[in-house]
Symmetry: D2
Subunit: 351 residues, 4 copies
Amino acid sequence: MNFASDNNSGIAPVVLAAIQRASQGFAPAYGGDAATLRIRDRIAEIFEHEVAVFLVPTGTAANALALAHLSPPWGAVLCHVESHVITDECGAPEFFGGGLKLIGLAGVAGKIAVATLAEALARPMWGGPHHVTPSVLSLTQATEAGTVYSADDIRALADVAHASGLAVHVDGARFANALARLDMSPAAATWKAGVDALSFGLTKTGALAAEAVVFFDPAKAAGMEERRKRGGHLVSKHRFLAAQFDAMLTDDLWLTLARHANGKADRLARSLAAAGLAPVWPVEANEVFVSLPAAADRRLKAAGATYYGWDSGSLPAGMSVGSDAVLVRLVTSFATTDDEIAQFVEAAAAR
Amino acid sequence: MNFASDNNSGIAPVVLAAIQRASQGFAPAYGGDAATLRIRDRIAEIFEHEVAVFLVPTGTAANALALAHLSPPWGAVLCHVESHVITDECGAPEFFGGGLKLIGLAGVAGKIAVATLAEALARPMWGGPHHVTPSVLSLTQATEAGTVYSADDIRALADVAHASGLAVHVDGARFANALARLDMSPAAATWKAGVDALSFGLTKTGALAAEAVVFFDPAKAAGMEERRKRGGHLVSKHRFLAAQFDAMLTDDLWLTLARHANGKADRLARSLAAAGLAPVWPVEANEVFVSLPAAADRRLKAAGATYYGWDSGSLPAGMSVGSDAVLVRLVTSFATTDDEIAQFVEAAAAR
Amino acid sequence: MNFASDNNSGIAPVVLAAIQRASQGFAPAYGGDAATLRIRDRIAEIFEHEVAVFLVPTGTAANALALAHLSPPWGAVLCHVESHVITDECGAPEFFGGGLKLIGLAGVAGKIAVATLAEALARPMWGGPHHVTPSVLSLTQATEAGTVYSADDIRALADVAHASGLAVHVDGARFANALARLDMSPAAATWKAGVDALSFGLTKTGALAAEAVVFFDPAKAAGMEERRKRGGHLVSKHRFLAAQFDAMLTDDLWLTLARHANGKADRLARSLAAAGLAPVWPVEANEVFVSLPAAADRRLKAAGATYYGWDSGSLPAGMSVGSDAVLVRLVTSFATTDDEIAQFVEAAAAR
Amino acid sequence: MNFASDNNSGIAPVVLAAIQRASQGFAPAYGGDAATLRIRDRIAEIFEHEVAVFLVPTGTAANALALAHLSPPWGAVLCHVESHVITDECGAPEFFGGGLKLIGLAGVAGKIAVATLAEALARPMWGGPHHVTPSVLSLTQATEAGTVYSADDIRALADVAHASGLAVHVDGARFANALARLDMSPAAATWKAGVDALSFGLTKTGALAAEAVVFFDPAKAAGMEERRKRGGHLVSKHRFLAAQFDAMLTDDLWLTLARHANGKADRLARSLAAAGLAPVWPVEANEVFVSLPAAADRRLKAAGATYYGWDSGSLPAGMSVGSDAVLVRLVTSFATTDDEIAQFVEAAAAR
């Protein structure tokens, strides 16, 4: 009963087989191999747009390199106050960005509202030389609360951001889950909605380690090769990054895996709700957040379930976690089974 | 006939099988898994010393993180003028080190002589506040010239370095090749000879991506967890880094693979020498450097051989590459076969 | 009628005369002169404690160098959300600190309450490797709201900070004003209350450009010489920084000048209050903040008064600035005269 | 008898008087004052070109800010191997430049030869992603050896640099001395010869602390305001920087002072030569380098003379410093008198 994180899962079998196949023979290192060259074209095809693509081994690397590339050191990256980039990367964006600032914006269910963004940009606190200047809006899709921005949400936010000269970045560590839920094209969910750069993560989806920074305007990517290299993020046996992407993007495996994870989250949420434990936020990707009575929490731990407690100021207005309860995050993945869900719900609901 | 680099090889089968096995079930992410915890103990056992170990996905990451951790931003890292850290990492040590300086020292066959180090440290160019202060001696083992420092070499260099307050770092991207050649214990080649920290690379040896920073004084590693994370180098599905190390360090696989590569380099060197193409430097690891007549170079290229030209100021005194010749580097790996060597030598020697 | 800032004033005559005297003859550069050496002893004497002292030309330099020295790059500096270091230095602490984070804490009248600090430190958002670790508490004395922490305030805050392993820094750009108001010894207001390092500013007090970083534990200052130099903040004709400090610290000139400024602020506040314009925060240093009716604002501008509008979320509970009014900051200095105050109040109060 | 450095001199009386005058009344801070605005126009007039100008308090700040602005973090700054930026600034350019590299080029008499630059740029060691890319040529004018590049020298070097995409920076800590010697217009010595940016120093010429970064293409200066501010180099009472520049640039005071210093260097050199102590390099600015017999060195020290020993690999071919001699640097300034020179030569020559 592992619901701790989708990165607690292993490698999807098709991806593992692709790594195995890619290991035959010799290939140029550092991205000079044929598979890497193909991947750029494949991503361009999938996104229906020319792209510059930089494969990297971690999501933190993708985010930090992207933000550092989109912002000058005296820029400010606006993001949700509970987003991964501001809370969970130990200052990676600040380090790669030469000391840029991340500014956290509040918002229910992990989402930034258009009015909140507009109000933040209107504050008299920006502009050189004394103040940093907003340079990037970074959205998380799916969000830390397991919710999803609609294309219209993104379009509206991007319009406000672009009007003030900000670039729009999406942290897509769970982009596949969001896209599977939105049921729209990658293009519609990104550049058509105003996204300038995407941290395109497939590790949580089921890869070993496969992340990419995708720029929809290749001209904006000048110098990124060097930035990646000096960040230590140019993997030498690069064909293995490419092989993972190739396997994932063939026959929509990434979306199939994400749909599986999303479906298991739905099932988990339904079952918990039926047991009186309704999720605190809509389940729109592969995460379920519930307020667990302390007794249920103890039973689950005793039964060997693993998951993390969660701390959030992003609950809906009027909702709070009771004193004898704990807010927990439950994450599903390509590897989650109905059995595990049934066991979990049984332990949670038992009395 | 791929002699371009050992990172052009794939994954050694035993390592690949270990990745496959590790993919079963769920495991905590970010190094909280059992395999990762075991690896530290295993490395301590192999090196016969307590250690702090940080697994990372690239050699550049290992070097840059290690040097940044051993040196203040106002420190100078002394290294061979043709070493990887100063020429081939696009400034990664400077970036991670907050703008530290790398100072290149000349030396025949890729090696720094003790007298050269002593003379450099004695120059009146060091010391705050106006000048940077030497903080680290970084040695490459095996060197960029495919040569190997003996334990006595390292001991003598380390003594000079320590006497001036420098820490001693070894870039061990080809540490296995060096160790296999030296035929001594890992301990004898490192901390017993005065090494403080090691970039312990197994990717070139035959892993997918498996590098580590090893500190022989764990107290010196305080804060390194955070440094790795904010560098984007804490891999989420960390068990797969651990699995590669585990496979490599079981039954001395790493040394077996390195011995294979070294043996193939010896064979290639002998065959080339018999054809009148003696290596310019002693072949002490898995690299052979020869001055190739232009005609041979053309024949080899036409026959599909891949290798890199080399530019070096590190040739033995009096030796130079003729105007109608090119210095080339030939690298062998666990995957190199006698057939390839035979084909290569035939094409090189044909007339 | 210049109430824009105390840095709009010139140089106090005694300080100017000291610069003139110091210009006679030759003197070693970069702090090797006799006057610089004397200043450290003088500051130690005044603070009744051994100190390490680093003179620099700007307050931003003092703050950024101090915070970078007290915090690792993965540290968090906790400060008031409206403090100069977080809002007005364009990211200088982040730049010098290798990408550290500044965390803004709310608080009425520019002050951080002990409970607020304790609550912030208790949040489950800290600690490596994923999260930054609180490393420094930075207090502004006098605050951005023109208020002053008592020695007891600082003691209580420092106790909470130290208990969690944080160092305590004071941004003392207006330290003289605070001290003059507190009427206590420099020692009592700093190290005796738990302060570890002080940005000791005398520019606003009446110098040309004279700031210092003072460490009360000289051992903690190791490496600071180099940090200052490579920050470009080691002034070559250093005797002129020393001369300014010398003049200021002789016969308590700094406190005399600060008392003058404070007294003028009191007078201005009293006169404005008599005209129905009571300050929004207690006037405890040399700044007066009032909510100015739009008409008064227009009259003052027309009459040639200069001052800045102010934006603050730090007003007392229940207080707000009316829609037809503007919150303004009025700063006095050693150069403020009663005449200017009278003119200002007359223009403000006229109807 | 102070010949240690021109920064051991005080403030030229006219400059001091200007500071005094500037201290009257109030003025906007941070460069918003009228004097600062005038200075940009004045510098544009003197250089006969539109300019962007940034006043800063130290020469290291000017150099580091300029180089960081002209180069990406993955760039290489080519400079003379004994230049101030690479040897004497404790890594300031690397720090401000996000970890860029300085590459030292050898050259007799402190000067980079055109062939040396061309050869360096032709080496197969440049270019991403693995290698840094040359981004700036930094020339020192006058050089560390007290010599001066002619306009033709600079033109030829700049042509080579520009052809490879490098910007040309001049460290002009002693620009006035060079210009006074060259007897040409500021324009002819800078942008007309291909210079893109100048560190324009007047502190050594006789100011308290007055340095500027001058860009001849203002568009290239975008973001420099913020870079200066977050470097802590935006001086608050900015009018005093402006006042120093204003005094210096009025009636060519800067050149008059520099001519005085140069003349004294000439006189010192002639007198020493007459006593058998000919300078090792041509005296082209305000510095004299001589090989001093140990006995003369002892006599001079005993007589109270101050000067620095010098270590250089830049001596003319075939020249060396004898074992019983020491190479020393003697610097003159606006404050040097004939009396001091006479005393010095007498002590040096006595037997």
